[in-house]
Each structure stands twice: as structure tokens, then as C-alpha cells.
């Protein structure tokens, strides 16, 4: 997941997508297809059924699955669910967007100039090693318990894969591209806008693909830790108030968000990579 371990390697993207569950090229299980067969859901169904049947004998903090939905309905009726979900989605989107913009800018800077790269590397490396959970208290010190604080934490955690992928993307730019823009006498702005950025999209999106699940997890993390607002805050509050069914319902919502984000970035990335095949 996440929470990037140090080590500035060009293979950053690969390293993370390795945990993505889809086989790379040369996948031996090609016969089984990229996605595991649906019959593999059976154990999960069995466990949930068993849970449901044994519910009477389980402690109250493990309510049966049928009650999870009821918990969610309760939350929705009290008008808590929708605002929380909105807050989470907004924090996630703003944080990821900020991370993409900043990560691309920094990535361009450190990718284009080895002096800038060398100058910033120790600082960036140490910043990257910081577990996001430890960033939360600092962010609350500086920004208080606010939406800004949430976005800052999410951005600071999600930026790294984008930055590193952009950097290696810039390094691998084909020299012909730069020669071409020079012979076309493009000015700096047009060169970046028309030549460099289009060639970099696949790298940037690879970074975003890794960053998106991170951003979601960190959004939940900061919400659980600070309980400002959002689904994470509701999870923490419901457990504290002994509303276990609501808690499980919300955990389910978090899982759904995560599936949704994964599906979205995979689709988006497949599209981008197809549209912007880098020149060889």
C-alpha cells in the first residue's frame, strides 16, 4: 500500500503496482485470466453466513451482517451518512489533485535538473520517510482541526509516487522530442505544454494510480485520528458510542470507496496509456 517506503528508484511505480494484484506480462495464470474467478468468493460468503447464524453467541461488538445495513440506514435517516461521505470524497479529491499538481511540478524540476535533484534529495527523502500518522499532529498544530489540515495531510502522503514517477518520466524523455521542439522554435511554455507534458502523461498517471489508494487510506486515517468530519470520523464515533452495526456498515462503505477508486484509476490509466503511447 501506501505509505511509501524510502528509496528513490525509477521502478517505484512497478514496485507498488506489484501489490496491485494483477499479473504483469508473462503471467503464468493467464489461463485463469487477470482477475481471480468469482467462485473464489465462496469462503467469504461462508464466513459471513456463519457469522450471521452464530450471531446470538458472538459478543455484541460483532453484530451480524444483516444489521450492518440497518446501521447504515439509521445513519442515513439521522442525516449523518451523506455529509460524511461527501466530506471524505471532497478531501480525497482535493488532496489527490493537489498532490498531482505539486508532484508533477516538483517531479519536473528534479527530473530536468540534476543540480536541483541533488540539492533537494535529502530534504525530500526525509520528508518521504515520515509516516503520515506522524504528520497528522503537526498538521493539526499548524492548521487546527480543519478541512485544510485534512487536505495537507493527504497531499503530503500522496505526492511521492507522482513526484518520483514524473522524475523518472522526465529522465526517460526521448531526446528527439526536445530536438524537435527546438527546431520548431517553440518557446518554453509551448515546449512544456505541447511536447513535454503529453509525453509525460503516462508516467504521471502511473504515479496517480499508486497515489489514489494512498490518498483514500490517508483520508480515512486523518478522519479517524482527528474526527473532524467524514466517514473515518463516523467510524470512530460510532464505535465509541457502542453502535457496532453502524461501525461495520461504515467499514463496508470504506471498502466500497476503495474498490471504486481502484476500478476508476485502472480504467483511467488503461485509457491514458492507450491514448498516449510514448514514442520509441
Amino acid at each position: 500500500m501506501t505509505v511509501a517506503p524510502p528509496g528513490p528508484s525509477a521502478a517505484e511505480g512497478d514496485r507498488f503496482t506489484k501489490t496491485g494484484g494483477e499479473g504483469g506480462p508473462g503471467h503464468r495464470g493467464a489461463r485463469d485470466g487477470l482477475f481471480p474467478p468469482l467462485r473464489g468468493l465462496l469462503p467469504l460468503i461462508v464466513v459471513l453466513l456463519g457469522w450471521q447464524l452464530a450471531a446470538a453467541r458472538l459478543p455484541p461488538y460483532f453484530p451480524p451482517p444483516t444489521e450492518w445495513a440497518q446501521g447504515l440506514v439509521e445513519l442515513a435517516r439521522d442525516g449523518l451518512l451523506l455529509p460524511a461521505a461527501t466530506a471524505t470524497v471532497v478531501t480525497f479529491c482535493v488532496g489527490l489533485t493537489a498532490a498531482t499538481v505539486l508532484g508533477t511540478l516538483f517531479g519536473l524540476a528534479v527530473g530536468a535538473s540534476s543540480t536541483v535533484d541533488r540539492g533537494l534529495r535529502p530534504t525530500l527523502e526525509s520528508a518521504r520517510a515520515m509516516p503520515p500518522a506522524a504528520v497528522v499532529p503537526i498538521a493539526t498544530l499548524l492548521f487546527g482541526f480543519t478541512a485544510t489540515m485534512k487536505v495537507v495531510v493527504v497531499t503530503s502522503a500522496a505526492i511521492w509516487s507522482i513526484l518520483l514517477n514524473t522524475r523518472s518520466g522526465v529522465r526517460q524523455l526521448h531526446p528527439v522530442l526536445l530536438d524537435m521542439s527546438r527546431s520548431l522554435r517553440l518557446n518554453r511554455r509551448d515546449q512544456v505544454r505541447k511536447v513535454i507534458l503529453p509525453a509525460l502523461w503516462p508516467s504521471i498517471f502511473l504515479g496517480v494510480r499508486v497515489a489514489a489508494p494512498v490518498a483514500l487510506v490517508i483520508t480515512l486515517l486523518v478522519e479517524i485520528l482527528t474526527q473532524v468530519d467524514g466517514v473515518g470520523a463516523l467510524i470512530a464515533i460510532s464505535q465509541r458510542n457502542y453502535k457496532f452495526a453502524q461501525g461495520f456498515g461504515l467499514i463496508l462503505v470504506a471498502g466500497l470507496f476503495s474498490l471504486l477508486v481502484n476500478a476508476l484509476v485502472s480504467t483511467l490509466q488503461a485509457y491514458v496509456v492507450m491514448r498516449h503511447r510514448p514514442p520509441r
Binding site: M1, T2, V3, P5, G7, P8, A10, R15, K18, T19, G21, G23, G26, H27, R28, G29, D32, F35, P36, G40, L41, L42, L44, Y61, R118, G119, L120, R121, P122, T123, E125, S126, A129, M130, P131, A133, A134, V135, P137, I138, L141, L216, V217, L220, I224, L225, G232, I235, A236, Q239, F244, L250, I251, L252, A254, G255, L256, S258, L259, N262
Partner: protein
């Protein structure tokens, strides 16, 4: 990690300049954050905390729990991963369930774990083990499953027994992926340790951090945050050293040291 391999004078200079800038801006009052301490204040506070032994006690607790949880998670992840990666029916009949379970962010289970296990080290260990098993598990499965067909052909051609194929062909080929998984898990274990200590466990660096925050001592918060960051760097560097020493050329160029 470039920082350790050669001295990057320019990089160190940048860092020192940035710290100096921070100091000057805070002292002159140009930075308008209520709770931002100057680096000198943080350093002074760090000295106190080291002298009193508080920092060391918390550090040792976090290191111990992180490593213990990570070791257990590694054994579980590699073991289960080998079964699921090698035995097709097991993969077919359970991988979809695992993918669904994996979608649930472990972070969202923190409040539940806190309730079930209370404010204890059990909460911390359980969270670490659960969360950091995933990267090892997934990477082991993928590593074993993506062993190239040619290698299997070689094994068949050499008429290796199944055990020998496993030991001489499959495991070495899967090793780089497993090592990457182990490394991801280690970082994750530290994150979960800090989270668990922040919300519940009454010891460790995360706990020191939250106490400093509640006591409104910003310098102390920064001391703990820097310590945690440093610990992350040290654990990761140590892992690289050990992995390079233990597996050597087998993992070079594949997610090991860049």
C-alpha cells in the same frame, strides 16, 4: 539511499539553509503560525527528552512492537502466499474473497480493534500483523504465480522433483517480489504501530506524540515526529542492508537497492 552512500554536499547545504530559514522566520515572527516552534527550541527539547530517558523508552517500545508484528506478519504472509501461489485450486477458490477483504482499508478497523482489545499492546500487535501481512501475502502470491513458463519448462526438462523445482526454481524466481513485499510491510508495520499508539496504546513514540500534543508542547511534538521519521529511515536502510547481505545478487535490480 543516496544520503548514506556518498556525501551530498549540496543536499545537506539545502537542508541546513531550510532549517536556518525556518529558524529566522519563526524568530522574526514572519511565519504566522501559532504553534510553530523554532528548530533550536525543538533541539533543546530533544536534549531534555533524551536526558530524561523518556524518548528512549518510547523508541524501544515502538521498535520492539513493530519488529515483532512485522516478523509474525512475514511468516503468515509468506506461508499463506506460498500455498495460494503454488496450489491452483486454493487460489481459484479464495483469491476473490481475499481481494474483497483487501479492499477494506485496515485503518478503518482501528476503532474496532481498540474496542475489542482495549488500550493495550494487543491492539497494536493485532493491527500491525493484520495490516502488514497483506503486502507480503500479495507479493508472494504474485511472485510465485508469475514465474516464467520457460523456467518451469527447464525444471521439467531436468526432471526435477516437485520439491526440487520449488526450492531451486520457483522460490529463487519469486524472491525479488517477496523481498519487495517484506519491505513494504515493514514500513506499514511502523505506520500501524504509530497509529495504534496515537489512538490507544499507552506507550511508544505515538503515545509520546499524542501526550505532547494534548499538553500543548509543540517542540515536543516535533521531537517525536522527527524521531519517528528517523526510525522509518533507519528501519528501511537496515532492511536493505540485511536483504542485500542475505539474498545478494538474487534481488539486485528488482526493487532492491536502486
Amino acid at each position: 539511499m543516496g544520503v548514506f552512500r556518498r556525501v551530498n554536499g549540496l543536499g545537506l547545504l539545502t537542508m541546513i539553509v531550510l532549517l536556518g530559514l525556518w529558524e529566522v522566520l519563526v524568530r522574526s515572527g514572519a511565519l504566522d503560525f501559532q504553534n510553530l516552534p523554532a528548530p533550536s527550541a525543538v533541539a533543546a527539547r530533544a536534549q531534555d527528552l533524551v536526558a530524561s530517558g523518556e524518548l528512549l523508552v518510547n523508541l524501544l517500545h515502538t521498535v520492539r512492537v513493530t519488529l515483532l508484528g512485522w516478523l509474525i506478519a512475514s511468516v503468515v504472509g509468506v506461508g499463506l502466499g506460498l500455498v495460494l501461489g503454488l496450489w491452483r485450486p486454493a487460489w481459484r477458490w479464495s483469491m476473490a474473497s481475499l481481494e474483497m477483504l483487501r479492499a477494506v482499508p485496515p485503518i478503518s478497523l482501528v476503532p474496532l480493534a481498540l474496542f475489542v482489545f482495549g488500550f493495550s499492546v494487543r491492539t497494536e500487535l493485532t493491527l500491525i500483523i493484520y495490516a502488514s501481512s497483506w503486502p507480503v501475502l500479495i507479493n508472494t502470491i504474485e511472485g510465485v504465480r508469475t514465474v516464467e513458463q520457460e523456467l518451469h519448462d527447464v525444471a521439467r526438462m531436468l526432471r526435477l522433483s516437485q520439491v526440487k523445482t520449488l526450492r531451486k526454481i520457483v522460490l529463487p524466481a519469486a524472491l525479488p517480489s517477496v523481498v519487495v513485499g517484506l519491505q513494504l510491510s515493514l514500513s506499514l508495520a511502523l505506520v500501524l504501530a504509530v497509529v495504534a499508539e496515537l489512538v490507544g496504546n499507552p506507550s511508544g513514540l505515538g503515545n509520546g506524540l499524542i501526550l505532547a500534543q494534548l499538553a500543548l508542547r509543540p517542540e515536543q511534538v516535533f521531537v517525536y515526529v522527527f524521531t519517528i521519521g528517523l526510525l522509518g529511515i533507519v528501519l528501511n536502510a537496515a532492511f536493505r542492508q540485511v536483504a542485500a547481505r542475505a539474498f545478494g545478487p538474487a534481488i539486485r535490480g528488482q526493487g532492491g537497492a536502486p
